[in-house]
């Protein structure tokens, strides 16, 4: 028995149980993964409108610019006014903190206010709805207006001349401002963004400041917004200026479905790398530095739904003077090669879709210069095939 135990110890001592490189040079090269690289181009694209329920967004827009229009609703909770109910109201102002500009930032922003109905929380509400049936969402007449420069980080103020409606809000009567205020743009040279009523920091939210006369002393009391919502619109016809370009429009929003012809990649291939490259036409784009200069992509399931776990964010490089956005989509392509997968498309949208109005215009699948078309560069190992006498 001692001999056996000694033998086991001797044979086991120092032995390796993990692969290492000793002998790797003797491995037949045919055993190494056969790596190929191919470029596949987009063979389909589709512009898709995405309804954004912006009641959670941190920014709200007001203004007009080119074919864009942006309206906003803000809701306030009139509480804490018990000791002020009987005091005369001297002035009322809507105050909003500016933090974004799209279009003419130096132009004054003209805006008028309306008291709203509760209906503006409706999921299906769009600017078109407001225009076609305004009384369903807000009440005439105008309760306040202004036209002023809205500088970033400064507080933009709109006087509310209808103090009676404010008093009704304070004493909790009907037809007050309890259902909110609609901000309708009057100017046409730019859209401004403001901190919304949805942000965590109450101090940053829009406010209504009410100034009372308390026995000859002016006392100002503010209430902060409890909710807000933007309705931003541009028609697809106005967005798409060139049919050979692909557009992503933040804030409205418009997204792109991109499909690819993978017939050249054998089913069963192992995808080791796949990068989507999509090139920006800067001249046809409209964007500034307020938001992230990035795209987001999603893998689409067979029923055309984006899989939330598939979110990928682009990186950017410059090639021949053009901005090329790059998204790592290896897992998408791997799934696309499963025979039961019928949907070989991805969804692209702007990273700052909910907080900016950036417009991205990319060279599309029919752009004359093929090198600028959307493409995926795929590095892969073909599936095992019969290799007679050369395994």
């Amino acid at each position: 028995m001692r001999v056996f135990v000694f033998s086991i110890v001797f044979f086991s001592c120092g032995c390796l149980n993990e692969p290492n490189a000793v002998g790797i040079d003797l491995l037949p090269t045919s055993d190494y993964p056969l790596v190929k690289s191919d470029t596949v181009y987009a063979n389909s694209d589709s512009l898709a409108y995405a309804f954004i329920t912006s009641e959670v967004d941190s920014r709200m827009f007001v203004g007009n610019y080119q074919s864009y229009t942006a309206w906003s609703f803000v809701e306030f909770g009139f509480t804490g006014f018990d000791s002020y109910k009987s005091l005369p109201i001297l002035a009322v102002k809507l105050r909003m903190k500016a933090n974004y500009s799209f279009g003419g930032s130096a132009s004054p922003l003209g805006v008028q206010l309306f008291a709203t109905t509760q209906n503006w929380h409706s999921d299906s509400l769009m600017v078109d709805s407001l225009l076609s049936n305004p009384t369903a969402y807000y009440r005439n007449p105008v309760i306040g207006s202004t036209s002023a420069i809205a500088s970033d980080t400064s507080w933009f103020e709109v006087p509310i001349s209808d103090t009676a409606i404010v008093r009704r809000s304070i004493i909790q009567e009907a037809n007050g401002l309890g259902d909110g205020v609609l901000l309708q743009p009057l100017s046409i040279n730019g859209i401004k963004g403001f901190v919304s009523g949805n942000v965590q920091s109450v101090d940053e939210r829009p406010k209504i400041a009410v100034t009372f006369d308390s026995m000859g002393v002016q006392v100002t009391r503010e209430v902060s917004a409890t909710k807000s919502r933007s309705l931003t619109h541009i028609s697809s016809a106005n967005l798409v200026q060139n049919s050979n370009l692909l557009y992503l429009q933040n804030g409205v929003a418009y997204r792109q479905y991109l499909g690819f012809d993978l017939s050249g990649i054998p089913i069963g291939s192992s995808i080791s790398k796949a990068n989507l490259e999509i090139t920006l036409d800067s001249a046809a784009s409209a964007r500034n530095s307020y938001g992230s200069d990035s795209l987001v992509s999603y893998y689409l399931s067979n029923d055309n739904l984006p899989a939330s776990t598939s979110l990928k964010v682009s990186t950017k490089k410059t090639s021949s003077g053009k901005h090329v956005y790059n998204v790592e989509v290896a897992r998408y392509v791997q799934n696309w090669l499963i025979p039961i997968v019928t949907q070989r498309r991805l969804l692209l949208l702007g990273f700052s879709e909910r907080t900016t109005l950036d417009r991205f215009a990319f060279y599309g699948k029919s752009w004359p210069d093929k090198t600028l078309r959307p493409r995926i560069i795929i590095t892969y190992t073909p599936p095992p095939q019969h290799r007679s006498a050369t395994p």
Binding site: F10, L16, N20, G268, P383, T390
Partner: protein, 417 residues
């Protein structure tokens, strides 16, 4: 017996993390030449050995003097230290040496039937590398090998001339598993599992002529026996199955054939006294021209040659002392293997300067009595294989064989003599 079984089970455990030399990637892997526990410690030869105490796995004519039903089984335990220009690593393996059963049917005519299951070749390697091109870790594993199920029959046409035939059923698979592990989470790790399943029939003929002196009228050679074996070429059916983790529901299949060569062996046994056996053997296989299913461009099968010598010594017959009843064995073998491997290419991309892989082993062993009719045979082989030249690798090999052979009367012939 119980202790021995426990030991055998314990020795099987290392199979869980066996690796081995990359040479086994080529052809059918390492060819094992297992002729039995007795010859293992005598350089691996012994084609001329006869007797009731020994089931020869290679020469069916050697069965003819088995007078009692006999069995044997064992384990082979190997330790490889592999050196290459990139470093050294050590592996261990444990492998079943198979089992054999011999049943005498007619003692007068030496008719003995045998059945054995014996490994023919073994594949076992583990290597890995980091690939900066794909930014991945790649691991390559090899396993499997060929085995044989054999039916043997011997007959004696005279007291000193014996013939035998053995029918082989070759079966088994060689397997290569490749694992690619990408460093980024976005990459899809995958593995490719390739197996080639082999099956086919073969035949080996053998003869042992005792007392060569009488046979050729030279009395000075009366203590010399000779054995010859001839293995006929065989064609195995090969089925390749390849699966990938990416398409786990699909198996890629292909079929073909793969050859085994003509083989020839000759061995001599000389008995200077009744307690000593000297053996010398030569075994060659005509691998050149054999078409292998798993051929590779840098691997050229070539004719192999194995030369071995050995000695076996019993201190005393009918001794009382345990250690005087122990059989002591020693030997050596040189093997020019069928592996001719090249790592260099010419300007046309063709492999050139192929190197023959040779091995040299010294052997030793003991035959330990464990009962009246059984022995535990210990065999040790140690030596080197290969070279560091031309980008190849050198293996330092230590093998231990543990086998049990039962219901035997050792050196019965000595008593009869």
């Amino acid at each position: 017996m119980k202790k021995i079984l426990l030991v055998l089970l314990a020795l099987g455990a290392p199979l869980l993390f066996a690796g081995g030399p990359i040479y086994t990637r080529y052809g059918y892997g390492d060819l094992l030449f297992y002729n039995g526990s007795r010859s293992y410690a005598m350089g691996g030869g012994g084609f001329a050995m006869l007797g009731d105490n020994f089931i020869s796995r290679m020469n069916p004519a050697s069965l003819s003097q088995i007078i009692r039903t006999r069995f044997s089984a064992g384990l082979d335990f190997s330790r490889y230290t592999t050196e290459s220009t990139s470093g050294a690593s050590t592996f261990m393996q444990a492998a079943f040496q198979g089992m054999a059963l011999a049943v005498p049917l007619d003692k007068e005519y030496g008719i003995v039937f045998s059945f054995d299951a014996t490994p023919y070749s073994a594949v076992s390697y583990t290597v890995g590398r980091s690939d900066t091109t794909l930014n991945s870790t790649q691991e390559y594993f090899g396993g499997g090998g060929l085995s044989t199920l054999n039916l043997g029959l011997s007959v004696s046409i005279s007291p000193t001339i014996h013939f035998g035939a053995k029918f082989h059923y070759y079966y088994g698979r060689t397997n290569q598993l490749t694992k690619i592990d990408f460093s980024g989470s976005d990459r899809v790790d995958y593995s490719i599992d390739r197996s080639v399943y082999y099956s086919g029939l073969g035949l080996t003929l053998g003869s042992v002529i005792q007392d060569i002196g009488s046979f050729i009228q030279m009395p000075s050679l009366s203590k010399l026996d000779a054995g010859i074996i001839l293995g006929l070429p065989a064609t195995l059916q090969a089925r390749e199955e390849v699966t990938s983790s990416v398409v786990s529901d699909t198996t890629f299949l292909s079929d073909g054939t793969s050859g085994l060569p003509l083989s020839f062996g000759i061995g001599f046994l000389y008995r200077p006294n009744e307690r000593t056996n000297l053996v010398a053997d030569l075994f060659t296989q005509k691998w050149s021209g054999v078409s292998l299913y798993s051929s590779l461009p840098n691997f050229k099968p070539q004719n192999s040659l194995r030369i071995s010598v050995g000695v076996e010594f019993l201190p005393a017959r009918d001794a009382v002392s345990y250690w005087q009843r122990v059989v002591y064995r020693a030997g050596a073998t040189y093997n020019s293997t069928y592996n001719n491997i090249s790592t260099q290419t010419n300007s046309n991309g063709e492999y050139v300067n192929g190197e023959t892989i040779t091995e040299a082993l010294a052997t030793a062993g003991l035959g330990l009595p464990i009962s009246v009719d059984a022995r535990l045979n210990l065999g040790l082989q140690a030596g080197v294989r290969g070279t560091l030249a031309n980008g190849l690798q050198r293996d330092t090999i230590v093998r231990l064989s543990l086998s049990i052979s039962g219901n035997e009367l050792w050196f019965l012939r000595f008593d009869e003599e």
